[in-house]
Each structure stands twice: as structure tokens, then as C-alpha cells.
């Protein structure tokens, strides 16, 4: 990346990508110079368009390929020139082939992640090591297996992410909703789902009789929602590999989100939770009015203020 000045420059007569004012390929810098507008306007436009169907991204790509740069030809100009020389249909074919190749690599990565999620992590790991060994051995024979590099990297990327996230897809796929009416009705192993939406609504339990309730939740990919009354102290560890965690109003997102609720409290009634979501959302909703079908806490959108949940948790855990 070169000089990042955003000062508008005098309009140019010919549209060229800028070799000086560029973030990626200098398209916005060139457009800004051509129209006499600050390039940041075009940059914002391209980024915003990515979230509105992505046509701006396609336009950016085409401009990168087919609008020359004002400096030394870069990779985009060289590739664009190759496409132009190849003719329209051949060029289109090359683009489609490149797209298919990328899609194929994604498919390989997804398949590897699926295999690891289904418990075949050890065979997948051995297979990846074997492919690496083949590449090393063929290096002494002129690199005959070079074509394996791309698929091998895709394979190990998918498997690695799934292994690191402890992805477990063996609990089934779909939508599960559980409404136990007593602590004894909760399975000792808890509730488990591979992929989908898991709902556990504990508000039907008579908490004055039950007091301490243990709940284990395991979800591979998707959304897990646990509902408890406001008067219950939520206590215990939760983990989200990648995604969003919201436990009794405490919201976090990102990777490897570990949270422990109700630390140091022995208040009753209490929910001793042990929840884990590999990829997705975990929500432990301490609300008497939140609806299972409505992703929010009663009326309002999902991302409304969670201060009432935090206050309810503080009050419930302060008892006793």
C-alpha cells in the first residue's frame, strides 16, 4: 500500500487506477482523481455496497481488471490483459473456471470440517499428514504433486478450524425444544444437538421446590437458548467457540468466549449451568416475559438493552 493521502486532486482526462493513492488496487483513487472527488467517498461506497448485494465488489473487481493503472502494470492489469487477449468467451470461461476452483476449495474445507465434527478428526489428521508426506517426497522428483498444495491447504484449514472449535455435530440436526417441568425431568447428560436451534425452557419448573437445578447444554453449530425465571440465579461456566454469548444479560462476541456466571454466589433458587456452543449463539435468558418464538426479550428486537437481565441476575444471586 502506498501513500494514503485523501486530498482531492485535479480531474484527469483519462480514467486510470491510481498507483499512489491506493488501498487495494487504486480504483477509488483513480475514480476520485477522474471526477475530482475525495476517493474516500468511493471507498465508502464500495464497502457499503458489499453489504447490499455485493454489486460494488463485482464492479470493483471489473474496474481493477480492465482499467489500467497509471504506474507499472500490477497483477490486476496483467490478469485483465490476459483475459482481453483471450477473447470474451474464453475469458469468461477462465473466470468461471477460477470461480469453480475457489468453490471446490471451499467444498473441501467444509467437508473436512464436517468430518472432524462427526468425530473423524484422527483419520482426517492422519490423512493430512500423509498428503504432506507425499508433497515432501515428490519435492525430490520435481514437484509432481504440486497440484495437491491448494486442496491440502483447504483440507487442513477446514479440519483445523473444526478441531480447534471442538465442533461436534453428532447430536443430530434440526430444531429441538425442551420444556422440563421438574429438575428430575432433565436428563443427567443434559441436552445435545449437532446443528440447529436448541431451546430449553426451564420456566415450567417449580423453583421453590427444585432450588438447585443442573443443566448441561451442548451444541455444535447454531443457536442455543435457555430460559429461566428472573428470580433464578444463573451460575456456572459457558463457552462459545465462535459467535455470540449472552448469559443473564452479559453479552460477548468473538472467538473462544468463556464466561462464568454467578461467581461466588450460593443463592437459591439457582441454575448450575454447563453450556457449550462450538459455532453460533448461546443465550441464557433470565426473563419471565421473554417468548421462545421471539428472539428478543418480550417486545423489541434481539439487540435491545440487556440491563434488566443483568439487574435481575445481580438481585437473584445476591440472595441467601
Amino acid at each position: 500500500m502506498n501513500d494514503e493521502t485523501t486530498t482531492p486532486q485535479p480531474p484527469a482526462r483519462r480514467l486510470e487506477r491510481s498507483s499512489q493513492n491506493r488501498v487495494l488496487t487504486g480504483v477509488s483513487g483513480g475514480l476520485g482523481r477522474y471526477f475530482g472527488i475525495d476517493p474516500i467517498i468511493f471507498r465508502i461506497g464500495f464497502v457499503v455496497s458489499l453489504f447490499l448485494g455485493g454489486f460494488g465488489g463485482l464492479a470493483y473487481l471489473l474496474l481493477s481488471l480492465f482499467v489500467p493503472t497509471d504506474g507499472e502494470p500490477d497483477w490486476a492489469q496483467r490478469f485483465g490483459g490476459r483475459l482481453q487477449r483471450a477473447g470474451f468467451w474464453r475469458g469468461l470461461g477462465m473466470v468461471l473456471l477460477a470461480g469453480l476452483a475457489v468453490a471446490g476449495l471451499f467444498a473441501i474445507a467444509a467437508s473436512a470440517a464436517l468430518a472432524v465434527g462427526l468425530g473423524w478428526g484422527v483419520p482426517v489428521g492422519i490423512g493430512v499428514i500423509a498428503i504432506g508426506a507425499v508433497l515432501v517426497l515428490t519435492a525430490f522428483r520435481g514437484g509432481r504433486a504440486r497440484w495437491l498444495i491448494g486442496p491440502a491447504v483447504a483440507l487442513v484449514a477446514g479440519a483445523g478450524v473444526a478441531a480447534a472449535a471442538d465442533l461436534d455435530l453428532r447430536g443430530g440436526i434440526g430444531e429441538r425444544e425442551y420444556n422440563p417441568v421438574s429438575a428430575q425431568a432433565i436428563p443427567s447428560g443434559g441436552y445435545k444437538l449437532g446443528v440447529g436451534h436448541l431451546v430449553v425452557d426451564l420456566r415450567g419448573i417449580d423453583w421453590q421446590k427444585a432450588e438447585g437445578v443442573n443443566l448441561k447444554v451442548r451444541l455444535g453449530t447454531g443457536q442455543a437458548d435457555v430460559f429461566v425465571p428472573e428470580s433464578v440465579c444463573v451460575s456456572g461456566p459457558t463457552h462459545v467457540g465462535v459467535g455470540e454469548s449472552e448469559v443473564a444479560g452479559e453479552r460477548n462476541d468473538g472467538i473462544d468466549i468463556d464466561h462464568t456466571a454467578g461467581v461466588g454466589s450460593s443463592a437459591q433458587p439457582r441454575l448450575d449451568i454447563d453450556a457449550r456452543v462450538d459455532i453460533g449463539q448461546l443465550r441464557v435468558v433470565n426473563s419471565d416475559t421473554a417468548q421462545v418464538d421471539n428472539p428478543g426479550y418480550g417486545p423489541g428486537p434481539f439487540h435491545e438493552d440487556t440491563a434488566p437481565q443483568r439487574a435481575a441476575e445481580a438481585k437473584a444471586c445476591a440472595k441467601g
Binding site: 515432501v136 519435492a139 473462544d256
Partner: protein, 66 residues
């Protein structure tokens, strides 16, 4: 890759990187280590970076003149 050269550094580096990453997957799946997403991101980036650097140093990639 020049004609007549029998040794391919890119394949060697790629194979070593892929095998090392595969070993991480194997060890994590077997329960010997507890790999986190943060560490696998670092490992994947390092492996891919190694492959790209070696490819660049080996003179592979797009032609310099067009």
C-alpha cells in the same frame, strides 16, 4: 520451476507445513493437546505465509513482463 531441476522447494515447504498442521489436528482430535481458535489461526497463517514466501523466492507466480 526451471526445466531440468529435480528438486522443488515449494513442494517441500508446502508438504512440511501441511504435515505440521495435520499433526496439530491429529493431536487435538486425539485429546493430546487443546487447540484454540486463536492458535489455529496463527498456525494456519504461518503455514500459508511460509508457502507463499517460498513460492515467491522460488520465482513462481505471475510473469514479470506483460
Amino acid at each position: 520451476m526451471r526445466e531440468g531441476m529435480r528438486f522443488d522447494l515449494v513442494s517441500l515447504a508446502s508438504g512440511a507445513a501441511v504435515a505440521a498442521l495435520g499433526a496439530l489436528v491429529l493431536l487435538d482430535s486425539a485429546g493430546a493437546i487443546d487447540l484454540t481458535l486463536g492458535w489455529i489461526a496463527v498456525a494456519l497463517t504461518a503455514g500459508l505465509g511460509l508457502i507463499l514466501v517460498v513460492s515467491g523466492l522460488a520465482g513462481d507466480g505471475a510473469p514479470r513482463h506483460d
